[in-house]
């Protein structure tokens, strides 16, 4: 296969009101097998997907939030979260789940996957991509 492409999955919707977030995650999981340069972006209501302490029992929906924590094992380790989207919703990075990956280059040290960025930085990130899948 040719050179790796830069894939960005843009998550813009809250996790359970619609199916977009769950089905986006299914694409990310399948896409991980293709060994491309993968990043995830969380903006607008998409930042709610990473909230800590999600409990979906009362809504009888499948809680898929734990899957995000497993993505590091699939080399999906860049979670760009837009600061303005957090602030507009009264959230901070501390409200999000801790998501980490093991850095094999540094003796498998655990490192944070979540990278807070500004709206301008997010725009620049999107502009750098080869393939942008928006959900």
């Amino acid at each position: 296969m040719a050179q790796k492409k830069k894939f960005l999955y843009v998550n813009r919707k809250a996790p359970y009101g619609t199916i977009y977030a769950l089905e986006a995650l299914e694409v990310v999981l399948i896409g991980a097998a293709f060994e491309q340069d993968v990043s995830l972006a969380f903006l607008d209501d998409g930042v709610f997907q990473l909230m800590a302490g999600q409990d979906t029992a009362a809504a009888s929906m499948k809680n898929f939030s734990r899957t995000f924590k497993a993505l590091g094992d699939y080399d999906v380790r860049k979670f760009y979260v837009e600061r303005e989207s957090l602030a507009e919703r009264g959230l901070t990075v501390e409200d999000l789940m801790p998501i980490t990956y093991e850095d094999e280059a540094e003796d498998y040290a655990e490192k944070p996957s979540i990278i807070p960025v500004s709206r301008a930085e997010m725009a620049a990130l999107i502009a750098q991509q080869d393939v942008v899948l928006s959900f």
């Binding site: 894939f7 977009y20 299914e26 694409v27 399948i30 293709f34 491309q36 080869d130 928006s134």
Partner: protein, 130 residues
């Protein structure tokens, strides 16, 4: 240029499928190639042959099927999204013990790998959604 098309919404409720159809048709008329059209989320509902829109309205499934046949397009419906929403080809209907299948002519059912592969192979991937 080789283009991959993603359709993320069903017909009629959203304009996404109409816009994707017109974009695809225009791109073909300009001489571009279409690597694949991938239907995901409610977009899989574009692939049922059982829709009966009013006679004075467009029939999106038929438009896609005809465009596909004319240009030999690869119209792929995501299997996981399709199964959730009751879009089955004959094999899938048999496998799941269902008494009918409804996949429209010219469409095929396959996995999400086809979406990623289209993104890798095409020069541009264009998403049509809400």
């Amino acid at each position: 240029m080789q283009l991959a098309i993603v359709v993320n919404e069903g017909p009629y409720t959203h304009q996404a499928s109409d816009t994707a159809y017109h974009f695809t048709k225009a791109a073909l008329e300009k001489g571009h190639g279409i690597t694949r059209v991938f239907f995901y989320h409610d977009g899989v509902n574009n692939g049922t042959r059982l829709t009966v829109p009013p006679q004075d309205d467009r029939n999106l499934q038929k438009l896609w099927s005809e465009l596909g046949e004319k240009h030999g397009l690869d119209l792929v419906v995501c299997i996981a999204a399709a199964q959730r929403r009751g879009i089955l080809d004959a094999d899938e209907a048999r496998r799941h013990g269902k008494d009918a299948s409804n996949l429209a002519p010219g469409f095929r059912i396959s996995g999400l790998g086809q979406l990623i592969e289209a993104g890798i192979e095409a020069d541009r991937l264009v998403v049509f959604g809400d």
